[in-house]
């Protein structure tokens, strides 16, 4: 039918138009850094905090003239708290936006999803949050992690086990690489200190009703409960634990607990809980680089960002600082050069001094930093150092 032909010609024209669309040129005078973070979905709170920290770092660097005479430009893609989206976002950043380096992807599961893309396109990525040990031990030379692994966290905590007088511990973890890895690392560590492990319960990252899991934990006879998940879910857990009358002392791992947010949203239910963090903005002077830490806290406050987000925001800041330093060392904004340069960086980060050591199978090592770890307590509606 003639009309059908018309439709098809129209399609053809449309197709051609689309084909020539790529002409939308972008300003070529910036160095792009891809940011693959969860801005919506189950862990949106943390993803936004990290991205804000990244923005602060970018602005600070640009204010000082940028890198190699050009301004830094963050190209931010939302991975929607989903691994497939994380991989897809990385692909977009690399193929469409042609970024020479990435930072991401927050959760271990999303980072693991992105890793094959890094191998395929040979682009390095700085991992700022993910803590699964698998990330640096699977032979991917494009991974450079500034966050601690679950194993490092457990090791750092092992010094405190005695102080906490833990006899039997339960686990309530999110059911992905991060949570399961944390439970594994911590229970191995506890066993080596003669502590009994009780029951291990998992939860979906999107689950809001944790009463089934908590009811079982209530009856387990343990004195401590390790919780590994992100702040939005911890908020729900503390509320529900309280209303169930849970007796265990709660310790969160992973550093994404934003204690101030817990105080704000849980009130009294947050008191008496402990949190493992990688930055303690209430005592910046205790950081390895106090001035850097204090400056960051001030810059964050100045922008009116929520104070609670500092415990995560620093990750984005340190990540971008590291990348910028690498680009500078490399002398050009190209993936392979940046990758090589990352091995040479020495950055005074907020968490501590950042420089990468080799980890993983020989010949294909990833880079790993050994960061500082803090433990805080929420008492009387405030964050303090543990009073044990």
């Amino acid at each position: 039918m003639a009309s059908l032909r018309k439709t098809r010609v129209a399609l053809l024209a449309g197709g051609l138009a689309v084909a020539f669309m790529p002409g939308l040129a972008r300003a070529a005078d910036t160095i792009k850094i891809g940011v693959d973070e969860p801005l919506t979905g189950a862990v949106a709170a943390s993803g936004n905090y990290v991205t804000n920290g990244a923005k602060i770092a970018t602005d600070e660097i640009n204010a000082k003239g940028g890198v190699l005479g050009k301004k830094l430009e963050l190209v931010i893609e939302d991975n929607k708290s989903n691994p497939t989206e994380a991989a897809s976002a990385a692909e977009k950043l690399i193929v469409r936006d042609k970024v020479p380096v990435l930072m991401g992807a927050w959760s271990s599961t999303y980072t693991l999803a992105v890793m094959p893309k890094l191998m395929e396109y040979k682009v390095p990525m700085v991992v700022e949050t993910s803590s699964s040990d698998k990330i640096t031990t699977s032979g991917n030379p494009y991974i450079f992690r500034t966050a601690p692994t679950n194993g490092m966290e457990a090791k750092a905590f092992s010094k405190e086990v005695g102080k906490f007088h833990i006899k039997k511990a339960d686990f309530l973890v999110v059911n992905n690489d991060w949570g399961l890895g944390a439970a594994q690392a911590f229970s191995a560590m506890l066993k080596s200190h003669g502590v009994q492990t009780g029951i291990e319960q998992t939860m979906d990252a999107n689950a809001q009703d944790l009463s089934a899991q908590l009811a079982k934990i209530k009856d387990s006879g343990a004195d401590t409960l390790f919780v590994t998940t992100e702040v939005e879910q911890i908020t729900l857990i503390l509320k529900q634990a309280k209303s169930l009358g849970l007796k265990q002392r709660i310790i969160t791992t992973g550093g994404s607990s934003s204690p101030d947010q817990l105080i704000q949203q849980d009130g009294d239910a947050a008191n008496g809980t402990y949190h493992i963090l990688f930055f303690a903005p209430w005592f910046p002077q205790k950081a390895e680089n106090p001035k850097v830490a204090e400056d960051f806290v001030a810059a964050w406050k100045k922008r009116g960002y929520e104070f609670a987000g500092l415990t995560e925001g620093f990750r984005g800041h340190d990540g971008i600082e590291t990348i910028a330093a690498a680009i500078k060392l490399a002398g050009k904004a190209e993936p392979e050069a940046i990758r090589k340069a990352l091995w040479e960086v020495h950055v005074k980060g907020i968490n501590g001094n950042i420089s990468f050591v080799k980890e993983g199978p020989k010949g294909k090592e990833s880079g790993q930093v050994v960061p500082q770890i803090y433990i805080v307590e929420i008492k009387g509606g405030k964050v303090t150092l543990p009073t044990l």
């Binding site: 399609l11 691994p83 999803a113 979906d204």
Partner: protein, 341 residues
């Protein structure tokens, strides 16, 4: 006459990778193509039998997971002593199994659902997709749950001595998707024009009448469901081996909604409808990427859907047909009737 036109169109599509050098746009076309295949499968049920299957993504996901698992190999613990271990197999075998398994699922859903109609059918189909999602999420030992099936092998060609390759690149995948797309189109076209197709349309137009004439309603609906599901499964398999990572969110209702929007805007019950709709909704988000946020885009799509239902209830393709016909008849030009379908 039209057949010639159709092949011209295919030739044009075949030529695209030769002049479209930007890999990213090729990527967009591949993803769009996969969704067009899925939309065509939905159109078969929705447009031709009038059954609104809102669980179509369930078949897509089954195809994806099956294909991925076959190509990755898996181990299924059936009892304490017995485990079913499957070695990794070539992706095309996964594709075949994906199509078969989703076709089977279509049969099951068809048999169950076609005892009930209308609103209840819709709800059952939605529930089916949701249950599949929750199964994929919780059956971690098989599907890896939220940790996703990663590193899915791409399609491979293994003709010893002639051609051995792993098809990672965008260009080979584009051709694979195009091939499956063309085959799917031909299958649907044949089906719709066959006796089976006429029976389905009779069902849609007037079910009691059709039944009274002796048409076995359930049998034809189930058949349509099987073909529709198998095609969706094929699309799912293509998706799995191109994107190379699958997680339970592949079963989300929003993907069914995307397919529904494509079919409805393009024109349900037409052959070209899902293609037009698919192109629009595959390409437009990319064009809008720089100017509008995703939420705003979706608001626009939702509004568009409502507008189409109100003003162009049959979709764009039929509306364009009508407009062209009215133009032609006004101008007094004789439209060659040899081009009638």
């Amino acid at each position: 006459m039209r057949r010639w036109l159709g092949w011209l169109w295919v030739a044009f599509l075949v030529s695209v990778p030769l002049w479209m050098t930007d890999l990213y746009y090729l990527h967009v076309l591949i993803i769009t193509g996969i969704f067009i295949i899925a939309s065509m499968s939905l159109n078969l049920l929705l447009g031709y039998t009038g059954q609104l299957n809102l669980g179509q993504v369930g078949f897509f996901g089954i195809g994806a997971y099956t294909s991925a698992l076959i190509s990755l190999g898996f181990e299924l613990k059936l009892t304490d002593n017995f485990a079913l271990a499957v070695d990794p197999h070539p992706a095309w075998l996964g594709f075949v199994f994906g199509v078969i398994l989703s076709g089977f699922a279509g049969w099951v859903v068809g048999r169950i659902s076609f005892k009930i109609r209308g609103a209840y059918f819709v709800i059952v189909t939605i529930s089916f997709a949701e249950v599949m999602r929750l199964v994929a999420l919780n059956w971690v030992s098989l599907t890896q749950g939220p940790m996703a099936l990663n590193n899915i092998p791409p399609f491979t060609v293994d003709i010893p001595g002639v051609w051995e390759a792993e098809l990672y690149g965008k260009v080979p995948n584009y051709y694979i998707v195009l091939a499956v797309g063309v085959v799917s189109y031909i299958v649907i076209r044949r089906l719709v024009r066959s006796r089976l197709g006429r029976a389905m349309i009779a069902l849609k137009e007037n079910e009691p009448l059709a039944t009274s004439v002796g048409i076995d309603v359930t049998r034809y609906l189930v058949l349509a469901a099987v073909v529709s599901a198998a095609m969706a499964g094929a699309a799912g398999s293509l998706y799995a081996h191109y994107v190379r990572i699958i997680d339970p969110d592949v079963f989300l209702f929003i993907y069914t909604v995307t397919m529904v929007i494509m079919v409805i805007t393009g024109g349900k019950g037409t052959l070209a409808g899902p293609i037009v709709g698919g192109l629009i909704f595959g390409v437009v988000p990319e064009l809008l990427r720089d100017t509008t946020r995703p939420e705003v885009q979706w608001i626009i799509y939702g509004g568009l859907m409502i507008a189409i239902v109100f003003f162009l209830p049959n979709g764009i393709v039929p509306a364009v047909h009508q407009w062209w016909r009215s133009r032609v008849s006004r101008a007094g030009v004789a439209v060659p009737l040899s081009e009638a379908p």
